[in-house]
């Protein structure tokens, strides 16, 4: 009623001061919400590129420490998984498929006189390839001199189905013909094929003189229970604690860890955004104290003609609330725009913008803005309500 009207008019009369206080809230909301949006979009885009990984368990030779890093680096030492160990894994994994994988980095040339390039070559059994990789062009390769290539590799070097690649520093390891191009897989925990070549197990063994000493074994878990699979394999192969044979990575659990790390980063940057909200709160407090101080006499008149303390208080709370709601609303709209800009600039896509998580981030920023305004308006309002009416009336 009338106190709401007075609050509105007081804001209008002090439009500059009120707008500056609102601006603080706008910035605070934008800081919190756009940080949240950025974090959410980051998680969404990462999960997008990780989604093709599926449920797998990746077994690598035990390397003493905490296992392998993200993105699979080739084990430089001669740590391998033996045929015997592979058979054990296969038995534990059954009926799921266990795929033995060779891996190396190699020099190669594309066409005569082209630059020497280095790329990763994976060797795996032809029968298992369709379980792990999908093709976007061409056919799976059965012949010994055929290979599959990743989409990035194909694009970077202008390769098509039928192109030839000369392997080795001087082509000393022969020539491979591209039979198919693999679908994009993004980052993955098992093998990263986007910029790599995939050859048959036989070609790899002949070329590099390898014999059943694998770099990695991937188990595709059909029922999705990767945790149990990991435990089962570890139980079978790492019987002795002091002499472990393999590291076993559960792709799902690793993914969960990555997400929770992203979550923590998002929370942290949002908290930094929160600092600007605290600063905004201080300016709201100042504006409200000013508003009370310059109206002490008016408060005295109100109280003397029968205005209750809580009514005086409500008038100032309304004022803080109006600033908070308007500031937060503008901030909410602007943070969607800021989120759009940041996503477009940093992630090169805005398709992850209109999600529930982002709506929550905006709501969180706006809610925090309003709560800060009310909290910072509370003390000045309380002061106003509890002024001694006689002294307030005498105030000039």
């Amino acid at each position: 009623m009338i106190f709401w009207e007075i609050a509105k008019r007081n804001i209008r009369i002090n439009v500059l001061r009120s707008s500056l206080a609102m601006l603080g809230i706008v910035i605070g909301v934008v800081a919190i919400a756009s940080m949240g949006i950025l974090g959410n979009s980051l998680v969404a885009s990462v999960s997008d590129s990780l989604s093709s990984v599926g449920d797998s368990v990746i077994v690598t030779p035990y390397s003493g420490g905490g296992g392998r890093g993200f993105g699979s680096a080739s084990s430089s030492a001669n740590l391998k998984i033996t045929e015997q160990n592979f058979q054990q894994i296969k038995r534990v994994a059954a009926p799921n498929v266990a795929i033995p994988i060779y891996q190396t980095a190699e020099h190669m040339k594309i066409g005569v006189g082209s630059d020497d390039i280095v790329a990763v070559i994976y060797g795996l059994p032809s029968d298992d390839v369709p379980d792990l990789l999908n093709l976007k062009e061409g056919v799976y390769n059965n012949g010994n001199s055929g290979c599959l290539i990743g989409p990035t590799f194909a694009k970077d070097h202008n390769l098509i189905v039928g192109s030839r690649i000369s392997i080795g520093t001087n082509g000393d390891k022969g020539t491979l013909r591209v039979t198919g191009i693999i679908e994009e897989r993004g980052m993955s925990f098992d093998i990263s094929t986007d910029s790599a070549l995939v050859v048959t197990k036989e070609w790899f063994e002949n070329t590099y003189n390898r014999d059943a000493d694998y770099d990695e074994v991937v188990v595709k878990v059909k029922d999705g229970d990767t945790a149990s699979m990991k435990i089962a394999i570890e139980k079978q192969l790492n019987k002795r604690k002091d002499m472990k044979i393999v590291n076993v990575m559960d792709s799902k659990a690793t993914l969960a860890t990555i997400y929770s790390t992203f979550g923590m980063v998002t929370t942290f940057v949002t908290a930094i955004g929160g600092i600007s909200m605290v600063v905004a709160g201080v300016s709201i407090f100042n504006v409200m104290m000013m508003s009370v101080t310059e109206r002490i006499k008016e408060i005295g008149i109100m109280r003397s003609i029968g205005t209750q303390k809580k009514e005086v208080m409500s008038m100032f709370i309304y004022e803080a609330a109006i600033i908070g709601v308007i500031g937060s609303t503008i901030g909410g709209v602007m943070s969607i725009m800021a989120g759009y800009a940041i996503s477009a600039l940093i992630l090169n896509t805005t398709k992850h913008l209109f999600t529930i998580a982002n709506a929550l981030s905006v709501a969180e920023g706006m809610g925090f803005g309003i709560v800060i305004c009310l909290a910072c308006g509370f003390y000045p309002a309380w002061r106003a309500a509890n002024l001694n009416p006689i002294e307030a009336l005498r105030h000039e």
Partner: protein, 225 residues
């Protein structure tokens, strides 16, 4: 009900405790105001006039003694009850008019009515009272600063009257007006009193005091006859 005095002071003392020693602003004051009276209170500066007016206006409570407003003892009332008493039974008129600058004339006048009803008030109610204090209709939607001092004081009187108070308390109501405008305000008050409004007025101006029907003098916190 009409037999009951509007206000009774019984042996009222007001002491302000100060570090340098207590100040006794009022010392054993007793008097009674009957319905329809027009009393002026005079006294030198520091004699206790403002203290007396604050107690009569329920802005403060006595240190000792009893005060009754229309039979209700205010000594142990809560702040909420005292505030409601001010809203419903007392009309205040100040030297500096004290209108609300953010509200227009009608809103200023109906403000106490809105406090009482807790909702919006028909502007006609405000206009009625404003006409009774002889304010021109054309001014009703203006803001206080657009009015002359005399006009503002008429609005203040209308605001004080809107809840039909038992008593009108005036603190130097003409103190900030030229003598001609002041006389106009005093004529209005005299007319209000003739129509039944009880008025108590603090003033230091003997000419203004002449408008009242009874003058009480105060010195050193005591009523002197």
């Amino acid at each position: 009900m009409s037999e009951q005095p509007v206000m009774v002071f019984q042996d009222v003392t007001k002491v302000y405790p100060l570090p340098a020693g207590d100040v006794t602003a009022l010392d054993g004051v007793s008097f009674q105001v009957d319905r329809g009276e027009f009393i002026s209170i005079m006294g030198p500066s520091g004699s206790g006039k403002s203290t007396l007016l604050n107690l009569m206006g329920c802005l403060d409570i006595p240190t000792t003694g009893d005060i009754f407003i229309s039979g209700t003892r205010i000594g142990d009332m809560s702040d909420i009850e005292l505030t409601n008493l001010r809203r419903d039974r007392i009309g205040f008129i100040f030297q500096y008019f004290n209108l609300f600058p953010l509200l227009n004339i009608i809103e200023n006048v109906t403000f106490p009515m809105m406090l009482k009803s807790q909702k919006a008030v028909d502007p006609e109610k405000g206009k009625e009272v404003l006409r009774s204090v002889q304010l021109d209709d054309s001014l009703f939607t203006h803001t206080p600063t657009e009015l002359s001092g005399g006009q503002q004081q008429r609005v203040a009187i209308a605001r004080a009257l809107i809840n039909n108070p038992d008593i009108l308390l005036c603190d130097e109501p003409t103190g900030n007006l030229d003598s001609k405008t002041g006389a106009g305000i005093m004529d209005l008050m005299t007319e209000l009193n003739r129509n039944g409004t009880t008025i108590i007025m603090v003033t230091h101006d003997p000419h203004i005091a002449e408008y009242s029907r009874r003058t009480t003098r105060i010195a050193d916190g005591r009523i002197v006859l």
